[in-house]
Amino acid sequence: MDEPDERFRVLVRRLADMSERDYYNPYRLFEWPRELDGDAYWMSPDLMVETETAAGAGLSEQQLRALSKWSSVNFYSLNVHGIRELLVEMVNRIHRPGFEVPSEYFHHVIGEENEHMWFFATFCRKYGGKIYPDRSVPFPGPADPAIADFLVFARLLIFEELVDYFNSRMALDERLPETIRRLNAVHHQDESRHIAFGRRIVALLHEGLRAGSSAEQLHEVGEYLRRYMRTSVAGLCLPDVYLDAGIDEPYAFRRSVLADPGFEAFAERVLHRTTTFLVSSGIVSDERIATS
């Protein structure tokens, strides 16, 4: 990381103060009823991409409610896996040369994210009986450490902003059980700090990249992030979920959802705030999500 600016120092100090001031004990915060209302929506229908596609239009109300239950379990499973990646990558960088300024705040983020992972995993196991599997496979990363650092924090930011779009809306959706609304509200509160931090560190790391990379490398990095955004939204559509929801031909159903123009429109809507930031920061050149 290049020499961080004074604005960044002030920001991390302020965020660390806020984390200390707002600290809560997650292990005592939530009430976990024995079961949740099985007839209620567990995920807002307008946050289920399937409802915006031709394939989803053919589902009965009963199938839609079952889909909302298992989509909810998948959403929190994705959170568990995304947080694990965040923790691993942040722990790998804490107290490493170049990360002196954010190190103090990394401690807060690591602590808070560990607690988020706990309450999301608790939800999945308690009400879904499982955490859906993570299909990512470790591949060799970029050889250039500056590109590797940038991509790690850019991916984490995209993940947090995507999740926050859902959290901020589900926290207020009265069709959902109280436990689900509360989970989303608490996560939204913490994530607003993490996103403020993420945007600044991503912008700073990209400034460093611009100084030392070719136009071709920068373009490649931007295109990778456009593909990453599409892949992240596609992660909400899982054959395992469709199978649990009683939908026939779950793999074919998923293909129909992903090929539907409604999928592109949904992905662009839920990531609009993120793509606007990435374009205005000169990180990607196109606000549209990659098509494949």
Binding site: P133, R135, S136, V137, P138, F139, P140, R227, T231
Partner: protein, 80 residues
């Protein structure tokens, strides 16, 4: 051209062919990772396709990049 016998792998070969520079199917022993035909983002879709074609869920805890390195290693790991 691939010389793999298992017909269940055809959709996988078609998927990979769309990602080669020429649009041709990769050879059975071509390194898919080194040649950037498969990367960390494409692999999730590819694993789902493997599951669908093989008719059984990939054993996710055991999948490594090595299992996916060539069409031949994919056949051995998931269709053996």
């Amino acid at each position: 051209m691939s010389s793999l016998a298992d017909q269940r792998m055809k959709p996988l070969i078609d998927f990979l062919a769309q990602r080669t520079a020429t649009g041709e199917p990769p050879a059975a022993d071509l390194d898919l990772i080194e040649n950037r035909i498969l990367d960390s983002l494409a692999v999730v879709e590819f694993l789902l396709l493997i599951e669908e074609c093989s008719g059984r869920p990939a054993s996710l805890t055991a999948v490594s990049a090595e299992d996916l390195r060539t069409l031949r290693s994919i056949e051995r790991s998931f269709f053996g």
